[in-house]
Subunit: 182 residues, 2 copies
């Protein structure tokens, strides 16, 4: 009897959607009033302005589905780190602020750029295929999204850029990408 | 007689604007037909689809002023590297594709997120203050833009992430930011 190997990509599990609107700014994600506290306290107030129940009710593996311009505002890294702290698996939106996009992957948060994100309903179960470039809805239909390059998925899987660099320093011959890909 | 020290921030020199529209994609910047060639050949065809005269006429220090969603499409790094190769000082636009934003700073291209970029006229002389968060027009008025964090400006000044890391490895005590800021 052999130990079965899994054929299930962890990304193929389904994720419950929380739907929010357009122009979600970093102050909504990491409210300025709590920036002097640790990430646990900041996360406790994440999105309180638009979804007061979010921080207390979100479960590990859930995803956030938003309108355009997600992550505008100040470049505070906590606006991405708070979602990671809460266990949010990914943010799906038609467009992201550039600095937010950079910060998010650096702290291990997956972002999926998806023009049709508005079709997703609150609470819907989604499967994510960032490498192939689609989100699969509960009814089996697919929403195209931009493919995410391997070096960014590596960053997400490692839990952020710093963890990825630490892993690579420990096992430099096991990697295919250099730091140039960060 | 002493050698005079310069008090002029290179960013305060003026830059001639090339104006293009919205949704400039990476295939317009680095056409697929030339991707098998080197960056010199790719750059020679940069933006040919929308401004056929651009690559031959752009001068070092010029800036590109664009509409929303600059850099959409595939994540090819050459779409940013071609502008660097041509000497383009910065791209100014209301919004950028997330992957393009990441690639651009990694290869040393300054991007300024500026909601009012559409006000800039073709050929206008602009002064850039990325650290302070504005673009100054020829008439002295200012267009607000998102401030660019110091670690990204360091990356631009160094000519990209790899050059920055090389510099820091050579002079590790002269730096204030770690690789975590990349």
């Amino acid at each position: 009897m052999t130990t079965p190997t899994t054929t299930v990509d962890p990304r193929s599990t389904s994720h419950r959607a929380w739907v929010v609107g357009a122009d979600i700014d970093t102050d909504a994600l990491a409210p300025g009033a709590y920036m002097k506290f640790g990430i646990d306290e900041i996360a406790r107030h994440c999105l309180h302005r638009v979804r007061p129940e979010f921080a207390a009710s979100v479960q590990a593996g859930d995803v956030l589905v938003a309108g355009p311009n997600f992550g505008i505002g100040s470049s505070r890294e906590q606006a991405a780190a708070a979602l990671v702290y809460l266990g949010v698996r990914a943010v799906i939106a038609p467009s992201f602020n550039g600095l937010y996009f950079r910060n998010a992957f650096n702290v291990g948060l997956l972002l999926l750029t998806c023009a049709d994100a508005h079709r997703v309903a609150e609470g819907e179960a989604l499967r994510l295929s960032p490498r192939e470039g689609f989100v699969e809805r509960a009814n089996g239909s697919r929403l195209a999204c931009e493919t995410v390059p391997g070096f960014l998925l590596d960053m997400v899987d490692a839990g952020g850029l710093l963890n990825l660099l630490k892993q690579r320093r420990m096992a430099p011959h096991a990697t295919s990408n250099g730091v140039s890909s960060c």
